[in-house]
Symmetry: C2
Subunit: 118 residues, 2 copies
DNA sequence: GCTATATTTCGATAATACTGGAAATATCGG
DNA sequence: CCGATATTTCCAGTATTATCGAAATATAGC
């Protein structure tokens, strides 16, 4: 992941609504959510939501898939993984806590199993 | 770390120059760098650099310390650690690669030991 | 083909960010 | 106190972002 990619991913997440969308999609799981549902939950005008979804898509943080009349969005973890790796590799040198993130105690959530291997 | 804090940290890092500053400070280690050196290396006008440094400081990603006539900036890893934890905890549910970051293979860098426990 | 639904694209507007020059502030060495 | 250095604050100008209504596009069912 280049610094440019990292900036793009960081920027895509660096907004209340976009981070909200992403978190919502993470929680929704592989099935994702259609645009209307997201807009309704976040109380966003449809066109505003599109604006933010395009940011997330451009950073490849989410995927889009048409299902009949609806467009389904879902979180794509690969860029998030790369981003976290980028941050730990490039931005944590010298920090013991960051250089060794393998503490079992850090697992606050059960991290429910997904059928497909990511 | 609240979503608001996460957005602030993400935003602070979501700019070519600010990410550059932060990475430079990470590399510089605990001794940090003075503003002039950073401005010179990044070819930034002093006032522009200040603008970006203030962003990073507001997010508590860096610290400031006066040393005679110079202001020394250094990376503060605590917020970075919180941010990485936030991302792995809140934005990676369902992803095996992300939910279980304890793979030895992920350690691309030797992760040099720091004497102080963070 | 027509109507209804879901979403995007377009266009306009308001807000915010980024930049850098000039002046102000802080420190040092005489 | 004065001149020199380091950095910030102030103040514009310019560019980018965020928002939303209205129109356009895509799909479905009749």
């Amino acid at each position: 992941m280049t610094p440019k990619d990292a900036v793009e991913a960081l920027y895509a997440l660096a907004h209340e609504h976009r981070l909200g969308v992403y978190r919502m999609l993470v929680e929704a799981g592989p099935e994702g959510l259609n645009a209307g549902t997201i807009a309704q939950r976040l109380e966003l005008a449809p066109s505003s939501l599109t604006f933010h979804l395009q940011h997330l898509q451009r950073a490849e943080l989410i995927t889009q898939q048409r299902q009949s009349r609806q467009l389904i969005y879902a979180a794509d973890f690969s860029v998030m993984n790369d981003l976290v790796s980028y941050l730990t590799d490039n931005c944590c040198a010298g920090s013991a806590a960051c250089a060794a993130p393998c503490e079992p105690a850090r697992a606050k959530k059960p991290a429910r199993k997904s059928s497909r291997a990511a």
